[in-house]
Amino acid sequence: MAVGPSKARAAVAARSIPENPAAPAEPVSVAKVRNYNEDLTAQFRRMFDQIGGIENQVKGKTVGIKVNLTGDAPFPGYTPGDTHWVHPRVVGSAVAAFGALGAKRVRILESTDSRKLGHKLEDKLLSGGWDVNALRNAAPHVEFEDTNTIGQAKQYSVFKVKSKPYVFPAFLMNHSYEDCDFFVSMGKMKNHEEMGITICIKNLFGITPTGLYRDREQVFHYGYAQAPSGAPTELDPNSTRYEGWRLPRVLVDILGSRPVDLAIADGIVAMVGGEGPWVLGSKPCHPGTLVVGKNCVNTDAVAMACMGYNPRAGRHEAPYRVFKNPKDHPPDQCHPADETFQYADNMMLLAEAAGIGSADLTKIDVRGVPIKEAMFDYEAFWKNQTPKGVS
């Protein structure tokens, strides 16, 4: 069979990240959820059952949830939780479900990027219009911690990369990521200007504390600055600085350093074209999808398929063939040395190669709603190619 040039290029690029048939694959649950007013707690309980149950891991334990927040500017007529943060009802319902399953304590975690002394995560949530008290009362013992700094501990916790590290051998993080028995990455199913997609792996970028690493873009995206004194330094300071190569690997290192016990992908309402309304050409969408799984890589792969993308896509395929506005990026970040086009490497394939989880849909047991019934084609919607009435 003849293969076109672009497919051939993609195949070559994809092959540059070795397949790993031995990477684990666990069940992933997919649900169609029309809006945030549905009974999401009951929905989560069903989905948890579909993936084999989590009660044994949660009962009497501390659950830490890294929620996906970012800038709080909304699209007109939307809240941040609708489009580029996880939605507060998703968070509250998951907290309620963990509480009902006997969790001793639930901690909501995120690094807010605020430099304000004594800044609280609750204030960030208020800035998105969240009902913090309702969230606090969603389970018997709910806490919040801005993991931007050392927090209530005396020192940062050291997290060694347990998989084969790509860029960093270890990271320093707020104690809350160590002091939880069951760690949840709760991400939004949206695009990302430089990485192609944000779901549950990319969400983990926010667990690195800016109080320590300061300008994370300089340290992790571009590698223009080294990690601060006292923090583990990168393995090869001479490796490429192109963020499309570097950051996906750093993200897999972060995932390898703090493994995820449960991944929840909120695609009930979301956005295409970027990670926030500040990205030119981005816009809200209503996929009506919720994805839950125990393996973060498996979950992201299924969620990505529900977004209409091939989870094994290479550099030259959507969503990894990216465009970064030269006005907003350093010149060398717009001109990768090893490619003609701007790109991002597929972080799921990198995670699979590192043995963290499979990105192969043929190996993942998808439960609940089949992918083809849950699919909302982000790329087509972004290009205004979807039929009239699809929002």
Binding site: R115, W278, L280, S282, N325
Partner: protein, 515 residues
């Protein structure tokens, strides 16, 4: 002491109170400080002037409405409206016959307006014989003149000289030109208030970016020197002319303590004159906002609230000062203004932070005052002339006794406005709103035993929901009032020494009064 400051102080203490207590030429018309102004242009001169300026519409119905605007029936449109001051077409370079016809029309119209207790001010569009303009206006029993155009420098002076006790309002193009000058009523060109989404402007923002809000609140606030404060009018033409845009223009000027010179679109006016039902409903909605404004004049009387003081100097870079005030307002940092000439220990004791970047450099006496302020626990934000500016970082915090001095190597309004929110605690800021990306909040009052009024204006076309206000101190009650409906009592929450309230939904304008 600066002569300008002395003149200003003398003016506020003596002239303004006397002036504001005087009634205008005809009894029954309201006092100038209570004037609610509207552009009420029309007549043959208006048509001729617009033809000259190439701005006359081709719509025959609108032209007809403008031509016949000074028929007495149009005064009926103002029934049940707080509008009480008409700005009518009075002087423009047109031929003598048109001028005579216009002045006769306006004279009769003004007489009818006065019978309805409406003040009438004549609009002057271009420079000509000042004595004649004033003399004609006096004979037509106008209550004053409004200079609205580009004039040679000497013309406003000549008009004022000829006018004697007749009120002359000059619509200034720049705020700073009038901030330090005496004026009975300050009128200044403003913007059409709205929120612009950066991406819709083709600008790629950052995660911390917020909608770009065009507002006049800071402009009105910037005249908040002196007591009693001067009436401030904002002159702006709206680009979009839905009822919401008009309401927002009213709210925007009123929230800061001023008044928008109501400027209705010609098409709307033509429909109003024809008693079109939808136009009358639109005017009723606008009037409800005006009524809300005028029925809460007590808010305007409350002193500005703010623990951050901006020290302004008449001699410094004027447009830069405006930018500081504009951007700090948009960042929701409550502030008050301090004239450089009025810096003293007692005045500074009312603040938690002072922005003194305009004192470049401060005098030895000023520096001593500011150093003492910092050592008593305050924060001083200074430019590089203070000394100790960093080479790499934007600013360095230099400890000073119980407080600190933040020295910027190259202070700019955007950076300082942003950093203020991070350098100060919520308690120091005093009033902190959450989830207000398309709104501006500002507060008045709050002195011991006095209520605190926090105004919120939404610049988006979409309602805002789940707004939280965190206010330093303890309060017994909080009440939300909006032009749309009855007052709502808000539940209070204790927040570690502060008080929080949540506003479930706000369409466009609301005020939370906290006792």
């Amino acid at each position: 002491m600066d002569v300008v400051i002395l003149a200003r102080r003398w003016f506020f203490r003596l002239v303004v109170p006397i002036f504001l207590s005087c009634t205008p030429a005809l009894s029954g018309t309201p006092r100038p400080d209570a004037w609610v102004p509207i552009r009420w242009t029309g007549g043959p001169m208006e048509l001729a002037w617009r033809t000259h300026a190439k701005t006359l519409t081709t719509d025959a119905a609108v032209r007809d409405a403008l031509a016949r605007w000074y028929e007495p029936a149009t005064l009926g449109l103002l029934d049940n409206s707080p509008v009480n001051c008409l700005l009518v077409t009075w002087s423009a370079p047109v031929n003598a016959a048109v001028e005579a016809e216009q002045q006769q029309l306006v004279k009769v119209y003004a007489e009818a307006a006065h019978k309805r207790s409406l003040a009438v001010l004549g609009l002057v569009y271009a420079a000509s014989d000042a004595s004649k303009i004033v003399g004609d206006a006096t004979r037509a029993a106008l209550d004053g003149l409004v200079l609205d155009g580009e004039f040679p420098t000497e013309f406003p002076t000549a008009v004022r000289k000829a006018a004697g006790s007749m009120l002359v309002v000059e619509i200034a193009k720049n705020a700073y030109s009038w901030r330090w000058q005496p004026a009975q009523i300050v009128a200044v060109a403003g913007v059409a208030p709205r929120a612009n989404i950066l991406s819709e402007m083709g600008i790629r923002g950052a995660p911390s970016s917020q909608p770009w809000i065009e507002s006049n609140i800071w402009l009105v606030w910037s005249f908040g020197f002196g007591s009693p404060s001067r009436p401030v009018w904002i002159s702006s033409q709206l680009e979009n002319t839905s009822a919401v845009d008009y309401e927002r223009a009213v709210a925007d000027a009123a929230a800061g303590g001023g008044r928008w010179i109501i400027s209705l679109d010609d098409g709307l006016r033509a429909k109003l004159r024809a008693r079109d039902a939808s136009a009358l409903e639109e005017w009723r909605r606008i009037s409800s906002y005006l009524k809300f404004e005028e029925s809460h004049a007590s808010w305007r009387a409350l002193a500005p609230y703010g623990n951050v003081g901006f020290v302004l100097d008449p001699a410094s870079a004027k447009d830069l000062a405006d930018e500081y005030l504009n951007l700090t307002t948009r960042r929701q940092v409550p502030y008050r203004l301090v004239a450089r000439s009025e810096l003293n220990a007692a005045a500074l004791a009312k603040f938690r932070a002072l922005v003194v970047t305009e004192l470049d450099p401060p005098t030895a006496a000023e520096r001593k005052l500011l150093q003492d302020f910092a050592e008593d626990g305050g924060l001083v934000i200074a430019g590089p002339s203070w000394g100790g500016a960093p080479k790499a970082e934007p600013f360095a915090e230099i400890p000073a006794g119980k407080g600190r001095v933040a020295v910027y190597k190259d202070p700019d309004p955007e950076t300082v406005a942003r950093d203020l929110k991070e350098l100060l605690s919520d308690e120091d800021l005093g009033v902190v709103p959450f989830n207000v990306p398309s709104a501006i909040t500002l507060a008045r009052g709050g002195a011991p035993g006095q209520s605190l009024a926090v105004q919120l204006v939404n610049y988006s076309d979409h309602p805002m929901e789940a707004i939280t206000l965190r206010v330093a101190g303890k309060f017994r009650s909080a009440r939300l009032e909006t032009p749309e409906g009855a007052a709502t009592e808000l539940s209070l929450r204790d927040a570690e020494g502060s008080t929080e309230v949540t506003i479930p939904k706000l369409l466009l304008w609301g005020t939370v009064s906290m006792e």
